[in-house]
Amino acid sequence: MLTAEEKSEIEHEITKFPVRRSACLEALAIVQKHRGWVSDEALKAVADYVGMSATELDGIATFYNLIYRKPVGKKVIRICDSVSCFIMGYDKVRAKIESELGIKLGQTTPDHEFTLLPTPCLGTCDRAPALMINDSLFRDLNEDNVAQIFRHE
């Protein structure tokens, strides 16, 4: 079920730990990188590969917010809703994104292009409000410039 490439990347991560199963989060991240999310099938394959039950691994996978157990869009928007961004206008930026994309927090656009999720503090509070689209960070946002980002992305 796991591809040869996934297996070789997971094996490399396993070398960093004294216990094989400790690499389970790295393994989930690898599968997610290749497939976009972690399906039940993929979860079972990872569990078998690192040596734990699928039930236990699901308990771990669902604990962490960067492991997706549901399909997400090609671009995942993570908008910071913590205190500094709140003070600096998070609500307005979020509302603008929601109206631009026609989705609410936690939803994916019908074309599977964007998923909108909240995230805790991104550690860039002097340039709040901030958000990430996949691996890229955007800051100093307001109602006007946030729409620009989507036109470029």
């Binding site: 960093k16 730990f17 004294p18 216990v19 199963r21 400790s22 690499a23 389970c24 989060l25 790295e26 989930l28 991240a29 690192v50 308990g59 771990i60 604990f63 962490y64 917010n65 960067l66 492991i67 993570r78 809703d81 913590s82 205190v83 500094s84 709140f86 003070i87 600096m88 206008g89 998070y90 609500d91 307005k92 995230t119 805790p120 503090c121 991104l122 550690g123 860039t124 509070c125 002097d126 340039r127 709040a128 990430m132 691996d135 890229s136 960070l137």
Partner: protein
């Protein structure tokens, strides 16, 4: 002014390269420690007065000296850098990680030598993509130059997310590939830590101090400060101020100097109302505390905490109840769910605060929130997450009581027409 941690960080946003770091005297502290016994390195760090920069402010040398030494000590021993910066309003470790990763690696080499650790991990915030990329490059370079590999292995673990991973024992569970639930203490990590072995966990800023202490000595280090605790501190200010930012300044710089000089004061049209001195888990301070030196001892003396030293400023146009709701929603969401006061209490706190914002707050709700602030305080929970949540809640209820009452009498958020709705 002396800014050992940040003086070489480039203004163009690039990281200090290995080549430049070496030219600037980088990795020089390794030759200093090579002439010292490991326990003497720990003693020097203890005597320097360095206190952990993650927020709790425990003596770094004290923590190091709790690691068992000698032939009978269990091996391998582990050193972990806690780079899981997620305290809302805190943006200091990102600066050090992105700006000067080699300084951190050198600090880890010093610490690992002192406690005789052979394996180390950098547990880094998963969202800090640029920091991860730069750390990976720097670690690779340190291996190829021979700084790493001979005595110390170093690995990077990008966190899969969750604030609770910043708690030492939850971090160890996360690193072991388990749910990040805090462990019972004692035993403390230096005795029984990750994979059951002696483990030392230190914050990025803490470790970045070590090369400078070794190179320049403890008298120099103590003289950097103008407060009670030694060294410099990376402070920051966010909110509606003229120049939000982070600066390395003498430990003990007052909150007023940070706000009025470095952050340039309030933005035009905004008035200062209160601040959280060091992240979401600290007490609100009103103007009467602004002249407090921002160091661990001075803040403890007046019954409060500095936390991470990155302040969040509340202005007169932002709803204090709304700010508390943002804070408590965060804590509710990030509770690991292990113990009842935190799991159940924070949900109720967030729900009651939300009811105020909807205009449905009632008289008895204030007393109910006060009760929760007390029950979530130190001593009733497994870890410090809920007491952290209780800090702004308890002080917020005390200082902004009139604002809560306005929400009740007006049956709406009085700030609803402004910025946030």
């Amino acid at each position: 002014m002396n800014k050992p941690l940040t003086e070489h960080i480039r203004s163009d946003g690039e990281a200090v390269s290995m080549e430049d770091y070496l030219k600037l005297g980088g990795y020089k502290s390794l030759s200093v420690i090579s002439k010292m016994a490991p326990v003497d390195v720990t003693k020097l760090i203890t005597d320097s007065g360095l206190m952990g920069r993650g927020g709790a402010g425990v003596s770094t040398g004290f923590k190091m000296s709790a690691v068992p030494m000698g032939e009978k000590a269990a091996t391998p021993k582990y050193l972990i850098c806690n780079a899981d910066e997620m305290e809302p309003g805190t943006f200091k470790d990102r600066w050090l990680l992105e700006g000067n990763p080699h300084q951190l690696i050198e600090g880890m080499l010093v610490s690992a030598y002192a406690i005789e650790a052979s394996v180390s991990y950098i547990f880094v915030r998963g969202e800090y993509k640029l920091a991860i990329q730069r750390l990976e490059k720097a670690v690779k370079e340190a291996y190829s130059k021979g700084f790493l590999g001979k005595g110390l292995e170093m690995h990077i673990h990008p966190s899969a997310g969750r604030y609770i991973c910043g708690e030492e024992t939850a971090l160890m569970n996360a690193l072991e590939g388990k749910r990040a639930i805090p462990r019972s203490k004692p035993p403390f990590p230096p005795a029984i830590g990750v994979w059951g072995k002696p483990t030392l966990i230190n914050n990025v800023e803490t470790l970045s101090n070590l090369p400078h202490i070794l190179n320049n000595g403890i008298e120099w280090y103590k003289a950097l400060s103008k407060g009670v605790n030694a060294g410099t501190k990376i402070y920051g200010v966010s909110g509606h101020v003229k120049k939000p930012g982070a600066w390395e300044l003498p430990m003990g710089t007052t909150a007023r100097e940070l706000l009025e000089v470095h952050a340039g004061g309030m933005k035009d049209g905004y008035k200062f109302r209160a601040l959280l001195p060091g992240g979401a888990s600290t007490d609100f301070w009103l103007e009467d505390k602004l002249d407090t030196p921002m160091d661990f001892a001075s803040t403890a003396k007046i019954g409060t905490r500095m936390g991470t030293g990155t302040m969040i400023v509340l202005d007169d146009k932002t709803c204090p109840v709304g700010m508390l709701l943002s804070l408590e929603k965060f804590f509710k969401q990030e509770s690991c769910g292990w113990c009842t006061p935190c799991r159940d209490g924070l949900s109720w706190v967030a729900e009651i605060l939300a009811s105020f914002e909807r205009g449905e707050g009632q008289e008895g709700d204030i007393a109910q929130l006060e009760r929760h602030a007390r029950l979530l305080g130190p001593g009733s929970t497994f870890c410090a997450l809920a007491p952290g949540a209780a800090s702004p809640l308890g002080t917020g209820l005390k200082y902004f009581r009139d604002e809560f009452l306005r929400h009740i009498t007006e049956k709406r958020c009085p700030y609803a027409d402004h910025l946030h709705r």
